[in-house]
Symmetry: C2
Subunit: 407 residues, 2 copies
């Protein structure tokens, strides 16, 4: 007990010391840093007056599914066949909203969702806050399911889908998942497809492959869900997304959607009423840029060189202390820290007192509620190494203080 | 009678003669031609490495309402105050769909539209096919109202809005209207605002100012609807749109939305769930481009130089013949031809037989139905002068043949 009191006093002393330093750091958002953005400076002016690409004038209307060569780029990123791919505007989130909107107004062969009493989605947790916000905005009821380290718990998914036919979708970030960093196994991917195929209701897998080729070291392959689906005749179960937001410029990249022919034809009816066509100039620039830079994998290696040391630094700070557990991602943008139960909010508050901004507690859960209050998402990419070092110094101090006080 | 037979025989001879020439021309779409697109070649590489604009890194996430300077550009085009303006992605049509989506899921202080039995829009006819397609896609019931040459017939609008409270909006293209070319008068604009203000239901004016500064000769001012609305405290009645699609590159420009503070706050709740933010790189390029080229009006004069001779050519061909009536627009992209009743489809079919593609009959009406079958939209911008000359030769031949046969 005396020992504990001493430890708390030491942690408090460190806390006060850090407070006098009046620091200001931010680990809230999975943004690329400036040096990553600089990697794509070659985009500027790359067309050098070229106006015809894939046989069309990229400056005029047309090609609502996107430039052929850009759809090929999307296929390369997603690791699927080009036929499935639509190349859109600057954001895959927008494509998600447009796809869900098409389901509300038309459905997918099962009548418009707007006519149903309730539409529910399974939400593997912790997950991507923007998926949850989008779902909430459309009035979709969200049901959390546990992640296992290689995808969602299949037994839970199977039972829930069987019991509740309002469940029409599941949000998946299959590679370097936000924020847990896990990669879906072949077994779980196949399992999800089988559940979808066997479900009485139309149950779709929203496959947001946002970090498809965002590996820190070697390229880590992910099973092509379309190939797996083809084998069991479940292609219509998949709604896949990707984007170049974390490859070139965040917010000025290209978003991709991949669908079976049946789904795509249904979707296009809605989509073509909402849009004039994508920005083909930007699409052409991206195609040319990656070609010039040895392809997407080669370009992503440059990102990895910047990102890897940051994730190593986070891990080294966390490894030096005794509390909680955390993920060791092999790619992506996040580390997920699990504290003792009931401490996440407290740790985030303590950190805020020292000038460290963290993603709000609960943000990675549907409706912003982390029932155990023990998940903290760390986003180490946006700041530089020095700032990150400071941030982690603050973080481990706050973890220690909150945990010791809890004992 | 003999005279008529001779005339028909002559027209048929000319028709057969044109047929042997195996022509192929297209007047269907309001697209800029290549020389117009060339006017904006300066966009390529214009940033010259500049990454910070209005104090933000344009390559990263953020600024969901758009770059400040780009919102200013939108305000200049729309002729309204910057505070109302949101600068979006590459298409105002997409902003229209997102705004309507926000009304379906939230409404505008009057509950979500999805909970109403019926939502109707007034559609001044002939009008823009994409407005009608978008409305149809959202299940909005469309009610046509007559255009007067300076906007929709106010008496009809007033009566309809009073009688049918499912009417929640009216589609307006207030300047160089598609396809009639008319410009809304101050009286009609004020009248619409008053009707909106006095309506029991929430009735909004969808003000698609697509051709705001697309004049052939001198700048023709349009009343600032926001100023008029402010005078009678009806700012919440307006949902305004504009875009640079026909100023720089079609499909790779910037779309704008302008709303009162009340409407904007409501809309942002929905919009921010659907998007990550606009393409700020493209926004910055547009701002810099227009600055460098003496402003938007100066740039639009170059377009006018290309467009004016085409519209003069159309008018000169039509003036040389005896049938129908047609508009004489002072800007925009279309001429609307009115044939004798019941002949539009026939003329378009005849033209098709000679290799001239025209906008399908009825396309400028809700549900594709022109009740009098007498409106034909001519879009003379996409082809060159020689092709246009051929197209008009075919057109007047087909008009004559169909009309004479009808007598």
């Amino acid at each position: 007990m005396n020992n504990l009191i001493t430890e708390i006093e030491e942690a408090e002393a460190l806390y006060l010391d850090l407070k006098t330093r009046q620091l200001k750091v931010d680990l809230t958002r999975g943004k690329p840093d400036e040096s990553q953005l600089d990697l794509s400076s070659g985009l500027e002016g790359i067309l050098q007056g070229q106006t015809i690409v894939d046989g069309v004038d990229i400056r005029n209307y047309g090609e609502p599914r996107g430039l052929d060569s850009c759809r090929e780029l999307g296929a390369e990123i997603l690791g699927c066949d080009k036929d499935y791919v639509l190349a859109g505007g600057n954001s895959s989130l927008n494509l998600m909203s447009q796809y869900i909107s098409s389901l509300f107004f038309h459905g997918s062969g099962d009548g418009p969702w707007s006519s149903k009493e309730r539409i529910s989605f399974l939400c593997p947790v912790p997950g991507y806050d923007r998926h949850f916000r989008l779902s909430e905005e459309f009035g979709i009821n969200m049901i959390p399911v546990e992640l296992t380290g290689e995808g969602p718990d299949l037994e839970s998914v199977r039972e829930l889908v069987k019991q509740d036919q309002s469940i029409r979708g599941i949000w998946c970030v299959p590679k370097h998942s936000n924020p847990t960093g896990e990669i879906y196994s072949k077994e779980i991917t196949e399992g999800l497809l089988k559940i979808s195929k066997e479900a009485k209701q139309n149950f779709k897998i929203f496959w947001d492959n946002a970090y498809a080729i965002h590996d820190f070291k070697d390229s880590i392959p992910l099973e092509d869900i379309f190939s797996l689906a083809k084998d069991i005749d479940a292609l219509d179960s998949i709604v896949a997304f990707a984007s170049t937001s974390k490859m070139t410029y965040a917010g000025s990249g290209i978003g991709f959607l991949a669908l079976s022919k049946f789904n795509l034809d249904l979707f296009l009816k809605h989509y073509l009423a909402l849009i004039i066509g994508p920005d083909k100039v930007n699409q052409a620039k991206h195609v040319k840029f990656f070609k010039k830079n040895g392809g997407v994998i080669s370009h992503m290696k440059k990102h990895a060189e910047i990102l890897k040391p940051k994730f190593e630094l986070v891990d080294s700070w966390l490894s030096k202390q005794d509390y909680g557990s955390w993920t060791k991602p092999t790619g992506g943008y996040f580390v997920s820290f699990t504290s003792e139960e009931g401490l996440a909010k407290e740790i985030i508050n303590l950190a805020s007192g020292l000038g460290l901004k963290l993603t709000p507690a609960g943000a990675t859960f549907p409706y912003g509620v982390d029932p155990k209050d023990n998940i903290i998402r760390l986003a180490p990419t946006a700041c530089n190494i020095k700032e990150l070092d400071t941030a982690m110094e603050i973080f481990v101090c706050c973890v220690a203080l909150a945990t010791l006080r809890n004992h």
